[in-house]
């Protein structure tokens, strides 16, 4: 067997990011769709924002270990969808560019009781022109908000899909992903790259 045969047999991989505030249900959503596989990264704390050069000597080099939610959905022998739950806390910001490069799109999971928790994620994907949908994880007892109200609160473009889901349910979580991929297709077909209507939400 020639080595090019290996290349031909390599499945096409695409990645979908699951973002949102801490405790909003990212792990639950990934877990509803597929087995969660352990994945960690150990990164140097020398990204922009630390303000200190930590690379001058081994004794001052500090690393942080971050566990991620990682899942794999095998569509066919030739196509695999990878899900990455992006760590929400601000101190893990440095990992986002790495994860989001080349992504099919992102799901921003939101809790209507704490909408502000997803502002950063929305700002981030708008800035990068990454296709994304907002999924409202409808926790039991959460107050009903109509879509217009949520759209206003999040300062979202009119075309941006807002879906309601129950991250514990497989079908519901799957529908969120389907909405995202349809949105990415629509964006690709129109060729229109989506620009942020305004600056930061802060």
């Amino acid at each position: 067997m020639g080595y090019d045969d290996f290349e031909d047999s390599a499945p096409v991989a695409v990645k979908i990011l699951i973002a949102g505030g801490f405790g909003v249900g990212k792990t639950t959503l990934v877990g509803a769709l597929t087995e969660i596989l352990p994945l960690r990264t150990e990164e140097e704390l020398s990204g922009p924002g630390t303000g200190i050069d930590l690379t001058t000597g081994v004794e001052t080099k500090r690393t942080t270990t971050v566990a991620m939610d990682f899942g794999r959905i095998t569509i066919s022998a030739g196509l695999v969808v990878y899900l990455f739950g992006m760590p929400g806390q601000e101190r893990f910001w440095f990992m986002w560019d790495d994860l989001s490069h080349g992504a099919l799109g992102a799901v921003v999971l939101a809790d209507v009781r704490r909408l502000a928790d997803c502002f950063q994620s929305i700002d981030y994907f708008e800035r990068r022109n990454t296709p994304f949908v907002v999924a409202l994880n409808c926790f039991a007892g959460s107050r009903w908000h109509d879509d217009a109200e949520v759209r206003r609160a999040l300062d979202l473009d009119p075309h941006r899909p807002i879906v309601r889901c129950d991250a514990r349910e497989r079908e519901s979580s799957r529908d969120v992903l389907v909405t995202l991929v349809d949105h990415t297709i629509a964006a690709a077909e129109s060729g229109a790259r989506i620009k942020s209507p305004s600056g930061s939400r802060f």
């Binding site: 290349e7 499945p11 960690r40 990264t41 066919s76 994860l99 080349g102 991929v181 690709a188």
Partner: protein, 127 residues
């Protein structure tokens, strides 16, 4: 009586509950891989399984090479071998430098291949 160790065994089964060395000791303190950066969904596959100088490689390099007998993503390799992504990237770059593996990069950004996107959408609908 000693027992032969199957070379294909998962490293994890021999390492016990916690690693004896911190992962970065494996890569001798390096924090950046050589050459092009590796995406988490880049696919690595072995070009050959025989290593000319196994002595200058760590057991983890060899374990990685074995896993790459079929194309494997960087994230899958990190998960399977229970090593941080950063360490896996450095080890894979070492193998690439020695021409033992080839790395297939994912599609360029933005993802605008409509046929591929429809295949993903249809596949997800069938879940």
């Amino acid at each position: 009586m000693t027992q032969a160790v199957d070379p294909s065994d998962d490293l994890r089964t021999h390492r016990g509950p916690s690693p004896v060395v911190r992962p970065y000791a494996l890569v001798r303190g390096r924090t950046k891989p050589t050459g092009d950066s590796l995406d988490v969904i880049s696919m690595a596959y072995a070009l050959r399984m025989s290593v000319p100088d196994p002595a200058d490689l760590e057991p983890e390099h060899l374990a990685l090479l074995r896993r790459c007998a079929v194309p494997m993503s960087v994230a899958d390799l990190a998960s399977t071998l229970d090593l941080p992504l950063g360490v896996i990237r450095i080890l894979l770059a070492d193998l690439r430098d020695r021409k033992l593996i080839r790395i297939h990069r994912p599609r360029a950004e933005p993802l605008t291949d409509i046929r591929l996107l429809r295949e993903v959408a249809d596949g997800l609908r069938r879940l």
